[in-house]
Assembly symmetry: C2
Homo-oligomer: 120 residues x 2
Amino acid sequence: MAEEESVLGWNPFSRNCASRGLLNSIGDKWAILILASLADGALRFGELEEAVDGISQKMLAQRLGDMVADGLVTRAQFQEVPPRVEYELTDLGRSALPAVQGLIDWTVGHMSQVYETRQK
Amino acid sequence: MAEEESVLGWNPFSRNCASRGLLNSIGDKWAILILASLADGALRFGELEEAVDGISQKMLAQRLGDMVADGLVTRAQFQEVPPRVEYELTDLGRSALPAVQGLIDWTVGHMSQVYETRQK
DNA sequence: CGGAATCCTCCCAGATACTG
DNA sequence: CAGTATCTGGGAGGATTCCG
């Protein structure tokens, strides 16, 4: 370890780095839940609204828009009545699943432990 | 999959759930970087400030406080002149490393790909 | 050196209402 | 059904200053 400036060698989320916003996309609370919710297949807007408990329409639409722009999710719009829109993970989005799921699993698994400690 | 309400079965980050704030701790942008920076051993406050590029004193102190309260990090204060304080991962904090590192690795690995897509 | 306190700004995110 | 538009408050987070 010659460099002491950054333990990581470089900071992938630095404000000087183009990818800074990437953590706000992949690391975002809602994005993680949306990603995980889409793990088993495509979902409609309304289904996502129920799957991601507590999210507002605005946040859902906003995050979905970002994720589509980032190439993590595809948006398929069917010209029907009533309107129908389905969101599905891209290959890129699916490639992020293990990392995302790992974070969720850890959180679920150690939640109670953290919560106990936090009481003190 | 009988339940359609939540793809995860339940939402670990729901606002109705005690662990909602947990993602704001473990999923937080700065917390992730601090955690990863401490992977190789204890660091002083100033060293962390350099390791986590772009973080302000305020944010560093705030996040470290939260992480200590959550039992992810220990704080060791030495009565010397000049003062010295070292932060180190607890076993719990270390247990989160794989998940955290997985997220960082994915981000670093697919960053350029996302950035390209985002241009369009 | 390692913070805490203060101030200030701006963006996030919720609520609500409206549209195709 | 699947969104946008608008308004608004609260909090994240930066800069600066001061203290033990």
